[in-house]
């Protein structure tokens, strides 16, 4: 048999009820690539219909893919698949974490960990290459993720990577996360590990990951080509955010913040990002000074460096020195990115004490909140948690729901004065399940039922659907394309494929030209905030965005950067290279695979996700039961009409047509949006079709 390369070749199965540890052959799942794809297949095959997230029968699949740990740019992501406690149907979701966990899992010789059953006492899983043991975790239970990591690193050595849950996961808070290396968090499945009493997983891996025989030079060349010509900054933004001599274009929203006289100011000595034009591959890591992007100019002097995930040259995680955190009992160091910074800021309902949303107090607040959330292991549900808090507070529902004594015990004066110390109360009460307040951590669906929110709650607050998730790059991002991306998942759409293209920073006409080459017509791409009626090319764009997202979560690559639809290279006329995933996959696995073939595998994964959702929800009526669109999308801007400049107000009939076109593009039933037998069989999933037929869930 040919040597397996890319993949490690085996996965770990750990049964916490029996203590049995066994090995599963990865290669029988290779059509599903890895990560999310394999996760869906295992959940589909092995978790009975009707299982709830915290049931013993639920399983958690930690999955990586054939590129994880190989050194391919931005390949350090881990995908976690399980049923979601926030979802009203407990339908399947993924959570994603970066850091080093995924690469270390591969170095230890594993493509994934299937966690099943439930322990009756706290345990942690110790992996040192092939040596895997279930250890007692009594001494870790009740501790935050930071202390858990420290204690396990003392036991295993500092070369171990530790992922753990905090108190929120232990207490079965629905909005809880799994966190590795202090700040790399995956949202939504922490409580499931809590239910299984699995506190942590520690990994030491010392083995090589092989790529295909004799392909070393090709690999190095491909890597150099990508680094020189194709890669941009975070979110594959390909123009700088200020005018620069080398750059033809610029865009103030670009995450390519590097410029002359911008520093990592707390580095010793300070490091100037300077200008980082394409072709200078050793400067790629300086392009994204994300601290100033996320927190404003005040963050520059506090930036120690930009951190990130294994083998990522982009490095979007700001590492900061914030001595003020010591006042709150934390260390002076903070690390985070994006929503993990902005979400705690939104908890401060009355703003900051200095009134400046980009000032010092805001920075301290956001750093404090992000550290507390990651330590307790609380997930913000893409910023929905503070919006729910705001809704409950401003409508008086919170006061109604909480016993008076509890309500009065909350230090509202800290909210009024904009004092960051309020966050200590906010996160602790949720994570430690203190009183009624902690139900904010149930997630929107269960919270709305429990606290009797009015129907208007669902038609605002950035919520997307009763699937209990918020919008995430929806109609404001590519109009129908963004909506179609947002209806697909059972959590917020963590898909950045379309958004990265829209936000790349290039002139619209250029982006339309490139869209024509990728999706069949420039009409796939609208001028932002001035969109046109639905067409088949937009359906192609939406489907491609979804498929690449599923592919990235399976192979694994970071969808906050990939795919490479555009590039910063003027000499390429800003064309990217959408075949790069297939090129790296071919070199890693030795299985020569074209872009179209890999896209077909991605389509298989998307369709399996859909089939699993049908199974979880016990209905084929995806169009009406799952793919719902909030009414505010159609009601926004009352004085404007759809398809006119200056609005992303959508048209109801047009969006139903958009759903039909997307279903058609996937070969799903155009009436219901459920996968058909013919499509499942075409994609090699006859067994899935048979199972759905047995459940009377085939259209």
């Amino acid at each position: 048999m040919a040597k397996i390369t890319g993949w490690a070749g085996k996965m770990l199965r750990v049964n916490l009820t029996t203590g049995a540890i066994s090995t599963v052959d990865t290669m029988k799942y290779k059509d599903f690539i890895g990560g999310a794809g394999i996760g869906y297949k295992i959940i589909f095959d092995e978790v009975p219909q009707g299982t709830k997230a915290y049931d013993e029968a639920n399983k958690v699949v930690f999955g990586v893919g054939p590129l994880t740990g190989t050194g391919a740019p931005c390949s350090g992501r881990t995908n976690i698949t399980s049923l979601a406690p926030t979802n009203p149907y407990h339908a399947v979701t993924d959570s994603h974490m970066g850091g080093n966990f995924g690469a270390y899992l591969k170095f230890a010789g594993w493509d994934g960990i299937i966690v099943e059953g439930a322990s009756n006492k706290p345990v942690w899983l110790r992996i040192e290459n092939d040596k895997v043991t279930i250890e007692d975790a009594a001494h870790l239970w009740g501790k935050g993720t930071v202390e858990t990591s420290m204690l396990l690193n003392e036991e295993m050595g500092k070369e171990a990577c530790i992922a753990s849950i905090g108190q929120a996961g232990e207490n079965l808070i629905n909005l809880s996360s799994i966190v590795n290396s202090v700040n790399h968090s995956a949202g939504g499945h922490g409580g499931i590990l809590g239910a299984k009493k699995l506190k942590a997983i520690g990994i030491i891996g010392t083995q090589a990951i092989n790529i295909a025989e004799g392909k070393g030079k090709d690999w190095v060349d491909l890597n150099a080509y990508m680094m020189d010509e194709i890669i941009g900054a975070n979110n594959q933004h390909v123009v700088p955010n200020t005018p620069q001599p080398w750059a033809e274009f610029h865009d103030s929203r670009s995450r390519w913040t590097a410029q002359t006289a911008l520093f990592w100011g707390a580095a010793k000595p300070p490091v100037e990002t300077g200008e980082c034009p394409p072709g200078e591959k050793n400067k790629v890591g300086l392009r994204t000074q994300k601290a100033v992007f996320d927190l404003g100019p005040v963050a520059e002097a506090r930036t120690i460096k930009m951190g990130g995930c294994h083998s990522c040259p982009i490095r979007c995680q700001s590492n900061l020195e914030v001595p003020e955190l010591e006042k709150y009992g934390l260390t002076r160091y903070a690390a985070s990115t994006c929503i993990n910074f902005s979400s705690p800021g939104s908890v401060m309902l009355k703003g900051y004490s200095d009134g400046d949303p980009k000032g010092e107090v805001a920075l301290i607040t956001k750093c404090l909140g992000s550290r507390l959330a990651d330590d307790y292991g609380i997930w913000s549900n893409y910023g929905q948690l503070p919006r729910d808090f705001k809704y409950a507070y401003t409508t008086g529902k919170l006061k109604e729901a909480l016993p008076k004594e509890e309500y009065d015990s909350i230090p509202w004066d800290l909210v009024e004065s904009g004092d960051p110390a309020f966050l200590l109360e906010f996160y602790r009460r949720i994570a430690l399940k203190e009183g009624e307040f902690s139900h904010l951590g149930d997630g929107p669906y269960w919270l709305a039922e429990r606290w009797k929110f009015d129907e208007d709650y669902w038609n605002g607050n950035s919520l997307w659907s009763k699937m209990a998730y918020p919008k995430h790059h929806s109609n404001e991002s590519g109009a129908q394309v963004g909506v179609l991306v947002n209806i697909m998942f059972n959590r917020d759409a963590n898909s950045h494929t379309h958004q990265n293209m829209i936000g790349a920073g290039l002139p619209t006409e250029l982006l339309r030209e490139i869209s024509g080459e990728v999706w069949g017509s420039p009409d796939a791409f609208d001028v932002p905030q001035n969109y046109t009626p639905m067409n088949e090319y937009k359906a192609n764009f939406a489907k491609w965005s979804l498929d690449r997202n599923f592919l990235h979560d399976s192979i694994t690559l970071c969808n906050w950067v990939w795919p490479m639809t555009v590039s910063p290279s003027k000499k390429r006329n800003y064309r990217g290279d959408t075949a790069l995933e297939a090129k790296f996959f071919s070199l890693a696995t030795g299985i020569e695979t074209s872009e179209a073939e890999l896209d077909l595998a991605a389509e298989r994964i998307s369709t399996l996700h859909r089939a699993l959702t049908v199974k979880n929800m016990k209905t084929i009526d995806m169009r009406n039961q799952h793919d719902t669109i909030p009414t505010y999308v159609f009601d926004v801007d009352p004085d404007k009409k759809p398809f006119t400049p200056g609005t992303v107000k959508m048209d109801k009939d047009d969006m139903q047509l958009a759903l039909t076109m997307l279903y058609k593009a996937y070969g799903w039933d155009e009436k219901t949006g459920a996968p058909t037998r013919a499509t499942l069989e075409k994609l090699g999933m006859k067994d899935v079709a048979d199972e759905l037929e047995g459940l009377k869930l085939l259209p």
């Binding site: 929203r253 404001e476 002139p507 001028v527 200056g646």
Partner: protein, 210 residues
Amino acid sequence: MDTKTNTDNLESEILEGKAKGGVAGSDADIEEVFDKSAAVASFIREQSANHQTTNAEVFLEAPFSLEVEELLALLDELKLEGAYKDIYSIKGEKTIYLFSNQYITHNYANMMVMVEERDLIKLVAETVRYESKTYPRPTDVRLFYRNPFKLSVDIFKAVLKQLKETVDYDDIKETKASNNAVYLYSDKFMDRSHATSLAEWVEVEADQNP
């Protein structure tokens, strides 16, 4: 970089170029044209590498000391020579500016020339028109406080006031996001409602949708 160093380099390159010509033993007239072209291109590239455009008038002075006609002919010649295809010119009000696109893009050079010419009203108006037409997007006025414009807030305010009173630029309009950030757009290329919604997206909504 100061001009003296440039000139020193230039002199040595002229000498070097002649020496090479001598070795090749070619016709003296052709050799001289070649040398001057090389020297002029080299000077422009050096300036561009230091992020400066070159005012063509510099070549009328020592050490180049070209006559106007000679300079114009030479610049025409540069356009035709493959070796100098990186050298571009932009016509200003009173002079010509030159740059190498190895170091400065055309768009950036345009901005630099407008700054150089100190016609600040035109600078703001043309920049806004370019952005409204090209991207299309309204222009965040903070752009003018940055490189290569670097206007002070007071100067910008004065320029904007005058711009609003200039008939030639009556297509330039102002809009505000809900956080009061000021954006300009040209209504030749953008609808007001479109400009306002894009400004709102950049200023307010994008931050809420990271």
